[in-house]
Symmetry: C2
Subunit: 203 residues, 2 copies
């Protein structure tokens, strides 16, 4: 049976990407696929597309932010999510932790790094753009903080995150979370049902 390539383009700064991250394992199990996680810098995506964060674009509009909140609560209820907490330091600059994701890939620690940094961001939320707080969080998670801090300073890691971000925009990305099933793009946590149907239909 042909397995479609399924990609999840994420930035730790997006709560909707975190909520998707919590639901992806159910889909992987039901469909017998693995989502490939691609780190992209959401701030870079916004700059390259002239798009803005929901926090900015919804500001000053009546009813629309409240509706997004209703939809988020529905998603949380529907999927029985218990671990989501609003991050009181939002927006957290994610440049370091996204470069860290690229670095963790090089160290063979990518999956654990993603799970742990997501936990430190949206389950037991911390101000992860403060290097001391980030360092303590990584150490608490038994991740090699010093080695990661070294790697995120290298041109190789910086360039790789930038290149992934540029490539994402070239493929049609404008925000987070973005999914690809083969070449088909899907935007938003509310598309996960369509993503799953596309996976099921492509085999």
């Amino acid at each position: 049976m042909a397995r479609p390539r399924v990609e999840f383009l994420f930035d730790f700064g997006s709560p909707n990407a975190y909520l998707s991250h919590l639901v992806i394992p159910e889909i992987e199990k039901r469909q017998g696929v693995k989502f490939e996680y691609l780190p992209v810098l959401l701030g870079g995506v916004y700059k390259l597309t002239n798009n803005r964060s929901p926090a900015e674009s919804l500001a000053g509009i009546k009813n629309k932010p409240q509706y997004q909140q209703i939809e988020t609560e529905r998603f949380i209820r529907q999927h029985g999510i218990k671990s989501f907490r609003s991050n009181p330091f939002f927006p957290v600059n994610t440049l370091m932790i996204m470069r860290g994701a690229v670095a963790a890939k090089k160290l063979g620690l990518f999956e654990r790094y993603v799970d742990e940094v997501y936990r430190h961001m949206w389950s037991e939320p911390k101000k992860l753009d403060d290097p001391a707080i980030l360092r303590a969080a990584l150490l608490e998670s038994n991740l090699p903080a010093d080695r990661l801090f070294e790697l995120v300073q290298t041109a190789e890691v910086k360039d790789e995150l930038l290149a992934e971000t540029q490539r994402a925009v070239e493929r049609g990305t404008f925000g987070s979370p973005t999914f690809f099933v083969g070449d088909e793009i899907y935007f938003g946590k509310d598309r996960l049902r369509d993503v799953e149907e596309a996976i099921a239909g492509s085999r």
Copy 2:
């Protein structure tokens, strides 16, 4: 069996409301309910909420308008819709035809008026904010154009559309299409599946 109240807040100017209008009969049939159509003036909703049309808010953003187009094409394909044509005169000012919907209700012609005006707007698209073109379209549809033109000038009809629009905003509306199942609000044609599940779950 308790039947939930299901409402569809629409403006003829929204192509996504038209696409919803085409799919609603399938849901009505499957679920044994009738959607109650409430005319609202989308321009009024935008003014009252400080929201903007997608055409305005997506202008200048890379990839996002193209993605909306992809989603519209998916919706059309998924529901086997054959009758949708882009209106070359878009945006058409809908004040007259939305007041006309209120007037048609008073004449007991609401359902036919809605079907026909939607057809003249998005299936055989015309410049319906031109009174002569509107008049010809109504006559072609065997609707009493002169009587409708008289009624849309009355304070009663004008005030009723304004009141419905204000009430919609008080209930949480910010755009079109908006649906209510009981007190639960849903926005966008892509929510019709959730709307249907809410109907099924509320009985």
